[in-house]
C-alpha cells in the first residue's frame, strides 16, 4: 500500500517556516533523544518531538508507528490538542469541550452500519476493531478557521473496516453520524447546527489509504473532547470533515446532507478540501497559524497553506478534471 502511494511528505514541500521550526526542535530534540529512539526505531529520522501524552487520562494503546504516513513537523503539545477543540456538542468555545465533556460515556459503544452493503446491523466497537492492528500516524490538521496542528493519531485505515461490510457498487458515498446524547453533551441544548452532526465522504475518499478511523491520540485512547471513542481523520480536508464520536455509518447512492454545508452552503462545501485558492467568505485560506511546540513563541507561527493540506501527491488525482472552486 505504501509503495503504491509513496511518501506522503516530500521534503520539497516543507516551507521555509517549518524548516525554521524544525531547526528550533532539533535543539530540543537533543534532550529528548533517548525517548525518541525508544518510540520509533523504524523512522528514517525521528519525529520532530516526542509525543508527550502521559498526562492524558486514556488507557495506553498498543500500536506500530507508521513513519511512511507521518509528518515530521513539530508536533502540537497534547495539552493544546486536547484543550483547544471545536466540538460544538460540548459548547462553542474552544475550551468548552475539555471542560464540559467529563460526563460523556464512551463505553460501551456500538456503531450502526446501514445502507448499500452486504453486511449491515449494529456492531460493538470491539467487533469493529477486531482483527485490525492499530497504527500511529502523525497528520497535519487544518481547521477551516485558519489554524492548524500536528497530531499523532492512533487508528486503522477506514478502508479496511468498510470493506468488511461489503459495500455495494451502488454505494457512491458514505454518510457518518455523531452521537447526540442530550444529557451528556450540553451543547446540544443550543440550535447551533441541525443535530445530530453529520458528515460524508465520496466512497473513493473514504477508501483512500490516508483516511483514518482513529481511536487514540498521543498513544492513548481518545479523550471525549477529541471524539471518543471513534472518529474520522481526513487530513487533506478541513477539520470539520473529520467527524467525531461516530455512531452510524451508512453507504448511500446520493451525496448525503452534511451539517455545516446545510447551515451555510456558501461557506462550507461538501468536499471541503483544504484549498489556499478558495477563500472563506470572511477570511483568507492562503495561510494558517500553526499551533505547535511549547507555545512561547508568538512570532513565526504563520505558514503557507498547501493545496490538500500538503497531501496533494496522494489525493489530487481523486479530483482530476473537477472544478475545485465550484466543488469547494
Amino acid at each position: 500500500m505504501a509503495d503504491r502511494i509513496g511518501l506522503p511528505i516530500n521534503p520539497s514541500e516543507i516551507t521555509p517556516e517549518s524548516v525554521y521550526l524544525r531547526r528550533r526542535t532539533l535543539l530540543k530534540g537533543l534532550a529528548l533523544m533517548p525517548s525518541l529512539l525508544a518510540g520509533c526505531s523504524d523512522a528514517v529520522e525521528p519525529p520532530a518531538e516526542a509525543a508527550a501524552g502521559d498526562e492524558l487520562p486514556g488507557t495506553k494503546l498498543i500500536f506500530t508507528h507508521n513513519s511512511t504516513f507521518s509528518s515530521r513537523e513539530v508536533q502540537t503539545s497534547s495539552k493544546d490538542a486536547t484543550h483547544y477543540n471545536n466540538y460544538y456538542e460540548f459548547g462553542t468555545d474552544k475550551a468548552d469541550p475539555a471542560q464540559n465533556s467529563s460526563g460523556f460515556k464512551p463505553k460501551p459503544w456500538s456503531v450502526e452500519i446501514a445502507g448499500k452493503a452486504g453486511i449491515t446491523g449494529t456492531f460493538t466497537l470491539e467487533d469493529i476493531l477486531k482483527g485490525h492492528a492499530l497504527e500511529e500516524r502523525i497528520y497535519r490538521l487544518r481547521c477551516v478557521e485558519a489554524w492548524s496542528m500536528v497530531i499523532p493519531w492512533v487508528g486503522i485505515p477506514l478502508a479496511a473496516v468498510l470493506k468488511r461490510f461489503q459495500p455495494a457498487s451502488s454505494a457512491r458515498h458514505v454518510s457518518f453520524t455523531t452521537v447526540a446524547r442530550r444529557e451528556q453533551m450540553p451543547g446540544l441544548g443550543y440550535p447551533v447546527l441541525d443535530w445530530p452532526y453529520r458528515e460524508g465522504l465520496r466512497i473513493d475518499e473514504a477508501m483512500h489509504p490516508l483516511t483514518l478511523l482513529a481511536v487514540g491520540i498521543y498513544g492513548r485512547e481518545l479523550p471525549a473532547q477529541n471524539g471518543a471513542p471513534l472518529r474520522l481523520v481526513v487530513p487533506w480536508k478541513y477539520g470539520y470533515k473529520s467527524i467525531k464520536s461516530i455512531v452510524r455509518i451508512e453507504f448511500v447512492e446520493q451525496q448525503p446532507e452534511t451539517s455545516w454545508n446545510q447551515s451555510a452552503p456558501d461557506e462550507y462545501g461538501y468536499y471541503s478540501n483544504v484549498n489556499p485558492a478558495v477563500s472563506h467568505p470572511r477570511w483568507s485560506q492562503g495561510s494558517e497559524r500553526r499551533i505547535a511546540g511549547d507555545g512561547f513563541n508568538l512570532f513565526g507561527n504563520r505558514l503557507q497553506t498547501l493545496p490538500f493540506n500538503g497531501y496533494a501527491d496522494q489525493v489530487a488525482s481523486l479530483y482530476a478534471g473537477m472544478d475545485l472552486v465550484r466543488n469547494h
Binding site: 493544546d80 489554524w147 492562503g286 504563520r302 503557507q304
Partner: protein, 218 residues
Amino acid sequence: MARSFDRIAATKPVVFLLALVPMGWLAWKVSQNALGPDPVAQLEHNTGIWALRFLLATLAITPARKLTGWNALIRFRRMLGLFAFFYASVHLAVYLIVDLGGFWSQILVEIAKKPFVTVGFLAWLLMIPLAITSTRGMMRRLGRNWQRLHRLVYASGLFAALHFLWQVKYGETIAAIEPVIYAGIFAALMLARVPHRLIKRRTGTPAGSAPANTTRSQ
C-alpha cells in the same frame, strides 16, 4: 469649582494607570505563556475588545453628563479616546506584525476583500485625525470645525461594533452574544444623543449655543 478642578486633575493619573492595566495584564500573560494554545488569537481578541470598551466609554461621556449633570466628566474624554486609539493600534499591530508577519501580500488582500477586516481597519483609520487633533492647540485652531471633525468618532464606533459582529462564525449563537451586547451599547449611546437634538430643534434653541449642553443638567 476650584475644588472640583483639583480633584479631576488628581484623578487623571489614576485613570491613566488604570487604563494601562489591561495592557500590563496581557504582557504578563504573554511572558508566562498563559494565553492558551493560540496566544496570538487571544492577544488580538483582548486588545480589540479593550479598544472597543474605551471607544464606548468615550462615547458615554456626553450621555453620562446629561444624566448626572456632572460636567467635569468631559475632562476624561480625551484620555479615554486616546486609549481607544492606543488599544486599537496595538490590536492592528498584533494582527499585522505578529499574526500576519511576513505574509505581506495577504495583508492587502484581507484589508481590501474581507469586509470584517475592512471595517475594522476603517474604524482605526478614522481615529487617526481625531488623535492628531486632540491637543488643546489643535482644538483652538480648528474652532467650530473641531467638533464637526470629531463626529467621525460615531462612524468609528459603528465600524468597530460591526467589525466585532461580523467575524462571528455562522450559527455561533453563543459567540454572537458578546458582539451583540457591544453593538447594543453603541446603539444606546447614539440614541441617547438623538432626543436632545430633537428637543433642541423643537424649542428653537440657537444651534450654536454651547451652554445648552451644560444647563440641561438633570
